[in-house]
Symmetry: C2
Subunit: 284 residues, 2 copies
């Protein structure tokens, strides 16, 4: 493990500990379902990106950690609701039964709601001395916007009705940008906000997150390109849409642009570079 | 209409305008479903209680309104999810088809998620000069706690498995206190927080909200006591549980205690009294 990998791994363990602490509530079926959803592995890409951007912009780990957790709780609530029979109807996630398979649909619905609510409790409840309170409020509002009707949830709605045969590449990019890009952009931007970055630097982090968000979804689509016999086989997929070769080329281009955009302005750190590169498509 | 009723009605119109402004986003199916859920009448009891408590404690209407809206958005998301087939399976609400009857289940699920998310965007995005930012963060954290796994959602989970035959009156009160009381307590407490009330006064508003929350649920149960032929007939109901006469006596006692608790410390205003009395059971 390289020095950078070790530092990222250390941060990942800090995120895991903080998430476990957020979810250490009572021993009820609801909290068990919430822990089942969140404490089950996962790459923690969004919290790590948030922490790396925050560090670059001058925010401390303790200050940024509640937001890293909040973002990961939001990501995980969206997976719980996405997996429900009325949505994607998935039985398995990360090698374990989905929450509704393990706890039933009513509890899965409520556990998702509770994770989303907890995210904001954790972010708003973080101690912030003096003037930092307004940065924190700005970060909460930004995360809510990126996660909400004009962001991630809006993208999920576009996804429900999207038909690759009739819609344009630009429409698919808009969908990806909201559905997957929403929280990844929010991760990079929140780090910049918490660190008190200038408007220009903040916009550069937004652009970085946007490019990584698109690359993330394209890579997922490529890995998921084999047709499936459930209805997810009809869902939009960049590999089917653009063709695998074009999708691969686009991922590589997005990586170069993301890294280049920060590098040229001196904002790139080794951790940010490593996180961007972790999304590269590995070919055998 | 009395002078007090007129003032409450004026505040209610301000809440309606602010909610409409929050939801004036794009003309998508998602925003239409969100507007269907929220802009369809409703007594707006929680926002009015928040505004009355805030006014008593010295917070301005403009400052408190985003929180009044946030609380009402949270209340309405919970109704949308509660109405889903996997929960109460209700087809009608406030004389109109429920959101999933009008827009389908996937959109109803996502519209509920989006309303919950929007609540926090609205609250965190409210302009707060200087030191008020930390009050606002405190209020957001409090609302999230009362609405979340240890508050309203926790109460909904208790409700799923509650059986009147085997559980105690105290267990039923705990359920009501979380499920219905959560947001009503939050309304009164948030007003006190935004107005910068002392810890003692804040605790008095918490107690006021707690008593009103219990009275609110008991009154609902009494009005809803006729057995129904759907599965809600099996749900806990105070009228069935305590007996109608005892439930009525308890509501009257809660009113007296709520009003008396504020009156004795000089915190009661005519508006707070009118809101408490609006929950009285009217007998023919």
């Amino acid at each position: 493990m390289s020095a950078i990998e070790e530092r990222l791994d250390e941060k990942k363990r800090a995120v895991e500990r903080a998430l476990a602490a957020c979810l250490a509530g009572e021993d009820s079926v609801l909290f068990r379902a919430m822990r089942h959803a969140v404490l089950s592995g996962g790459k923690r890409f969004r919290p790590l990106l948030l922490l790396a951007a925050a560090e670059r912009c001058g925010a401390g780990l303790e200050e940024a950690l509640p937001f890293a957790c909040g973002l990961e709780l939001i990501h995980n609530y969206s997976l719980v609701h996405d997996d429900l029979p009325v949505m994607d109807d998935d039985d398995w996630r990360r090698g374990r039964p989905t929450v509704h398979k393990a706890y039933g649909e009513p509890i899965a619905l409520l556990a998702g709601d509770a994770l989303l609510t907890l995210a904001f409790e954790v972010m708003a409840g973080a101690a912030a001395p003096g003037g930092l309170a307004s940065r924190r409020a700005e970060a909460i509002a930004l995360i809510a916007r990126r996660a909400g009707a004009s962001g991630m949830i809006g993208g999920q709605v576009l996804d429900i009705d999207f038909r690759s045969e009739t819609e344009s590449e630009a429409a698919y990019e808009e969908l990806m940008l909201r559905k997957t890009g929403g929280l990844i952009m929010a991760a990079a931007e929140t780090g910049a906000i918490l660190g008190g970055a200038s408007a220009e630097d903040r916009a550069r982090f937004t652009e970085f997150g946007k490019r990584l968000g698109l690359a993330f979804q394209l890579r997922d689509d490529l890995q998921d390109a084999a047709p499936r016999d459930d209805r997810s086989g009809f869902r939009p997929n960049a590999a089917a849409f653009l063709g695998a070769a074009a999708a691969r080329a686009r991922v590589a281009e997005l990586h170069r642009a993301a890294i280049g955009g920060l590098e040229g302005t001196g904002l790139l750190t080794e951790e940010l570079r490593a996180l961007a590169l972790s999304l590269e498509i590995r070919t055998a």
